[in-house]
Symmetry: C3
Subunit: 356 residues, 3 copies
Amino acid sequence: MNVSDASFDRERPDVYGDAHPKALLRAVEEDGDYLLKLSDQHIVSSDQFCADTMRQLFRLAAKYESNPTRFSSPLKGKILISAFYEPSTRTRLSFESAWHRLGGDIMSITDRSTTGIAKGECIEDVAEMFNNYGDCVVLRDNNTESLARMMDTLRIPIVNAGNGSDEHPTQAMADMYAIFKWRPELLTANFDPARRVRIGIVGIPGRMRTVRSLLKNLAVFSHITHEVVIIHEASADADLFAKGQREELESAGLKIRLESDLDAVLPELDITYINAIAWEGDSFETYGKKFILNAQSPLKKDGIILHPLARGEELGKDLDNTPHNWYFSQARGAVFLRMALLTCMVQRAERVIDVV
Amino acid sequence: MNVSDASFDRERPDVYGDAHPKALLRAVEEDGDYLLKLSDQHIVSSDQFCADTMRQLFRLAAKYESNPTRFSSPLKGKILISAFYEPSTRTRLSFESAWHRLGGDIMSITDRSTTGIAKGECIEDVAEMFNNYGDCVVLRDNNTESLARMMDTLRIPIVNAGNGSDEHPTQAMADMYAIFKWRPELLTANFDPARRVRIGIVGIPGRMRTVRSLLKNLAVFSHITHEVVIIHEASADADLFAKGQREELESAGLKIRLESDLDAVLPELDITYINAIAWEGDSFETYGKKFILNAQSPLKKDGIILHPLARGEELGKDLDNTPHNWYFSQARGAVFLRMALLTCMVQRAERVIDVV
Amino acid sequence: MNVSDASFDRERPDVYGDAHPKALLRAVEEDGDYLLKLSDQHIVSSDQFCADTMRQLFRLAAKYESNPTRFSSPLKGKILISAFYEPSTRTRLSFESAWHRLGGDIMSITDRSTTGIAKGECIEDVAEMFNNYGDCVVLRDNNTESLARMMDTLRIPIVNAGNGSDEHPTQAMADMYAIFKWRPELLTANFDPARRVRIGIVGIPGRMRTVRSLLKNLAVFSHITHEVVIIHEASADADLFAKGQREELESAGLKIRLESDLDAVLPELDITYINAIAWEGDSFETYGKKFILNAQSPLKKDGIILHPLARGEELGKDLDNTPHNWYFSQARGAVFLRMALLTCMVQRAERVIDVV
């Protein structure tokens, strides 16, 4: 390797700085009770979270992000079992980084084939084993049922890190955190309805776990959106939503509009959420070659793009250095959001909230 | 996932509480010298342990289990090399949890195929590498020879976590710990012989490593048993024991009886040890479809069941919520037993014993 | 397993003691500025290091090796991403041991097949993820390009732990550290040219990454060698060096001689470096069955052998217990050398140097 210069720059782009998290921190008043209550809850679905609880979680995430080295040991002595029966480096490392940054220890399972489950051990027995070995479980499994079966046995909390095509609640909450970091005023008590935003989501709500979970969270905060525009192939209309899904969202106050021409709707969108990966049985399916964003796309001037990553062709790298790129901030924020959640789950919230 | 209730209960069943470990703790007087001596020993076979050493290890395990958060850092600064060339999530996590709970750091090898050994590196060179990288090695390898070859080179202690069909000494000691937790009086100096117990073991002593190791330990404590009943298929009589194995056990004072009808003998048994997995070359073999325990089995009223887990069909889940279930307590105790052993091996016993 | 004696000896051979590292420590005067400057550098090639910087790194490595438990927490709160897309237990554990010994936490990737890269994720996005998850990256990848592509995106330092057939700079520096530990006087300011050494290297400089990197370092210290003898098969003459490689080394002052009869040249060599593994595309190739060292080889009386390990047939085990064996000391020293380098990269040098 010919190296003329191996030096590098530690400077973060402005969007990763502490200005936005600090603004979010100021926008929300602390109320630790909502966090303390999470210590008796598994985290399995976006259905579990009311607006107040999420607001406090976002606040704690922002507190962590505002000063990443301030809290280094609230999880000291706690052991995470990071059980990724469906491999995923990105999500696994995000959780593990969150745990380590708070001073905890980790045991990882990265491959189903080396486990007792592969040899036919029942999942309830695995859960019983986890009770004795750790203080918290993060589970990803493409078997949708595994999570519920473990919950029956566990006496330590479990986090759903993606169960098949069902849900991925911490990803959705990280998406919401990115939105509120971008515009902290959306979280304020005296929020002006005139400043509501329009969100476009490229995807199939009935089949994509990240979209399903995100829509549930958006419904809880329906007062911050004019509407949510679902952008999809017209031919997919029939199975766009799961049974009852749309009705549930609308009865919670969310306005939903359907569109199939991405470029036509882009100029209206404050936030465009795109996610090319749909979980379909055991394999990936690329959704909608026609739904592509790049620097030539007619984006609203101050509109932002969110993407849970990893990306495929749907998201051009030429957007990375534009102000539309909030997906990197979103990925970064996911670590702090998970730090907030994990702290509460293992009964250490009282170490990081200001008033107990 | 439709979640009506994601709350959970942290309460442990009574059998996991601190009453039994505390009773064990009171039953044995501390004598730290036996523990200090372990710092110059590899742990490879159940042959190594005299009654006094085991008694002190059980005492230390009970001290840990009585108050799991009391000692969080005796292994601070120590590195475990967790080398599982034969994959085993359950045993690996049990050792790793034990190490982390004492404040140590871990490097894991979970897959033979990614190692130098797979490329033909000689095992002595691997051991030399381990000398420089860590403070203790836990080895599982289906090659029975690997352990002895590593021992020749190591200047740090190694624990045999199962070497082929040979031995699994820490599992056997965890089994013994479960027995003594159940009835701490069995460990007392003035133990009343009238209260000896009868133990049934379903399995083939000559071919199952857990059974082989357990019998060796039982022989050391032969004064606590009326007899050990080996329950097996009559057709297996010929190779039930390895050459000299039975003679050795009997000369140590263990009374051995053979039976082939499980249900007929169950009503007599205070402890039934069952273990359906026999190691046979590189693959598993299910032993004795006819030897099955479930809630309908004619168990003695206060008889208990032990099983090293993972279980197969031989152990009905309908037993889980009965007082016969001591296999979950056994699995839990294995972590504390390993904590006790590991503490001694890396010369940190003096940090946890009361009088040095 | 029949165990007559499971006891072991913690005593290290003299060559692993602290006499040599302490002598090296005394031979070099501390100048921390060279170490502080490393905090803004990726470590990708042996080209990056001037003599003064290496001298200070060797000094810090020797400080660590002289008293291995003195510094246990300079990396507290720092997270290493240990990304081995090409599996290598030896190098991975060496880096991980170094990091743990300094009190840091680790997240490991041990298998490319479980990663986003295997699913087609671009490597720049992986690097962006690493920015958010850790404080330092150690990368091994048989794709030579991955390193440079990650560097473009990273805002945290990366270490090249072997990129295809290109370079392996920390291995080469560990080789140099072994040489200077053996004869610390070679590092002194008033080094007597009459005491220069002759080094033989068995291998193909144009195709072996360890040899390529080592020669670059030797060129920087060309004043300590009479000459470097490249020992190779005569038939390999044509592609022995890469284009311009030999000229570059010679213009830096290194005298190079070519030989093809190992035994004929051995009696002249103070240091013999042998390394049987050549990286050739995705597979290993054994180089030169005829170049074999063993206890019968006509080695110079006080000549030493270096080998980056793992070894093949080229290095006889009957040399292990002879004074020629410095390859075990070399392997051991690699941990301390990496400790020195990693400390500097994550801006913690000021915690371990004497005067800031």
